[in-house]
């Protein structure tokens, strides 16, 4: 696929009424195309070195989108720097960093008003001829362990990926898509921004999203499609206010529990689960024709031309064959890294799953977060989700593996956060679990807390819980 062809497609389908907006800007597609053409001339003029790779901290703002499209159009190599990154940690393979100045204005013929190119202090010439020469996009993996590694995508594959998403959601130029999730991340970029541009849909970007901004923009922009995270879904439920209803909400990441999912759909509208990763982009989603029961059960079907399989008859690791996935990992010096997750075209997701019916899969959680119980591989996320269905008094359950083994195998402790005014004890909780769960899935011990420690984003602080309760005898 020729890069230029791909970039033309990015700006080809919009209606004259389609717009792009953010907190400060509002632009037609025609004006965006003009800006991208101007910016492309600039990028072509500075492209002198073969190993040239720009680091860019992309925010949910229209000028940033224009820069992104110009980079795609001119086939630049670029790395999407997560915002607020330590400048010392920008990988050595980036020779320059494109920084945005805080300016309301962004005239394309006065670039120095709003952008600047700075050398990357840690760039080393040794990276020359290691990174690909043209049309390479590098993303950080969201993994938290080990040395930093970067995912190398060919730009046309990223666009192919976006086209797949647009097809799945039947995105069209009359649609309004609200993107409050960051576009430097694969979810915001590959599921929100690029598919919407490909379809010529109107797009509203929210930078530094919070619940007030989300309500405000939903009301003004009247989206047909809104991208959310599970945390935001739960926050909307906590806030308990009516909002302008999107026709469709998409959520990615850990699935919200069945009760919350049902409550969300009753209150706001259809909530689609999306399954994907940085390496492959979008892999599968709930089908638009799924029943509510199937959505609530967390079933997903692969996107057009993507194949998913579980190699063992029951549960097992999900293997995905994606025509537009990443190429390989590189290290911070731009060197290709060996990968044990990619075998020929098949990508081992490290997620545990189950094929419920032909082409309908249930994602059960990370394999790393699985334990052996009674000879079965058990996902702790699956246990949590099953427990949340039967223990209505709880609003959050975290299951951790405790030190030592028992007759079942790994020892499991369920830490349950109770709803205000509710009470529960171990005996009752176990009895209730026994009605719906296999014996080996039921944790050995329970503790009940009024409040579970949480991270700033509202998710339970699993590390603190593990440290606190791993060795405590309950």
């Amino acid at each position: 696929m020729i890069i230029e062809q791909a970039s033309d497609l990015l700006l080809g389908r919009a209606e004259s009424s389609s717009i792009l907006c953010d907190d400060r800007h509002r632009l037609s597609y025609a004006a965006l195309k003009e800006a991208v053409d101007h910016l492309s001339i600039f990028f072509l003029s500075i492209k002198k070195e073969e190993a040239y790779c720009l680091g860019i901290a992309l925010k949910n703002e229209i000028p940033h989108v224009a820069i992104l499209l110009a980079l795609l159009k001119t086939g630049q190599n670029f790395y999407l720097i997560p915002p607020n990154s330590d400048p010392k940690k920008i990988p050595d393979f980036c020779d320059k960093i494109l920084a945005f100045k805080d300016s309301e204005k962004w005239e394309v013929d006065r670039l120095s008003q709003w952008i600047e190119l700075n050398p990357n202090p840690s760039f080393t010439n040794k990276c020359s001829n290691i990174a690909p020469r043209k049309g390479a996009i590098f993303l950080s993996t969201s993994g938290t362990s080990g040395n930093p590694k970067f995912v190398y995508f060919q730009s046309w594959k990223l666009i192919e990926n976006a086209r797949n998403v647009a097809k799945r959601f039947y995105l069209a130029s009359h649609h309004h898509v609200l993107v409050p999730v960051p576009i430097y991340h694969m979810y915001g970029l590959g599921v929100g921004l690029l598919p919407s541009i490909l379809s010529g849909s109107s797009i509203c970007l929210i930078s530094n999203n919070n619940i007030v901004k989300l309500l405000d923009k939903s009301r003004q922009f009247k989206p047909h499609v809104t991208l959310l995270t599970p945390t935001t879904c739960n926050m909307l439920l906590m806030l308990d206010k009516d909002i302008h209803r999107s026709h469709m909400y998409i959520t990615a990441g850990a699935k919200i529990n069945k009760h919350s999912h049902l409550k969300f759909e009753t209150r706001f509208g259809q909530l689609i689960n999306l399954y994907g990763c940085t390496e492959l982009g979008a892999i599968a989603t709930s089908g638009l024709a799924y029943s509510q029961a199937e959505r609530l059960a967390g079933l997903v079907s692969p996107l057009p031309s993507v194949r998913m399989q579980v190699k063992t008859p029951d549960k097992g690791e999900i293997i995905a064959k994606h025509p537009a996935g990443f190429e390989y990992y590189i290290d911070k010096k731009g060197r290709k890294m060996p990968t044990d997750t990619l075998d020929a075209d098949e990508y081992k997701t490290r997620d545990l799953g189950e094929e419920i019916s032909p082409n309908k899969f249930k994602i059960l959680g990370r394999i790393d977060n699985c334990v052996n119980r009674n000879g079965f591989l058990v996902s702790l996320q699956e246990v949590e989700s099953l427990m949340e269905e039967v223990l209505e008094e709880t609003q959050q359950i975290v299951v951790i593996e405790q030190q030592g083994q028992n007759v079942m195998g790994s020892q499991l402790l369920a830490i349950c956060e109770l709803k205000e005014g509710k009470s529960l004890d171990t005996h009752k909780a176990k009895k209730r679990c026994q009605t719906k769960m296999k014996r080996f899935l039921i944790p050995d011990s329970f503790i009940f807390l009024p409040k579970i420690p949480r991270l700033n984003n509202g998710k339970p602080n699993r590390n603190t819980l593990k440290e606190t309760y791993r060795t405590i005898n309950t």
Binding site: V212, D216, M235, D242
Partner: protein, 88 residues
Amino acid sequence: MNATIENQIKSTLKEIISHDLELNIEKEDIEDHVSLNEEGIGLDSISIINFIVKIEKKFGFSFSEEEISIELFSSLNSLAAFISSKTE
């Protein structure tokens, strides 16, 4: 008269932010005109939800969806003026 009421409201709002939201901000460090968002005090979504719930409890009214806006939550000044009008 209105100014006095709004000042009292602002003082209560500061009390809520410093004591109830677990943000590690002292009441006297909160300025009336400073944004409540990331460029100012930096209330995240969870804090904003808790803030809204506490305001509704304390002042005895409920925000409608239309009333929750970026402008209203831009500073304590705008919020206090709004609460004052709701509780008159």
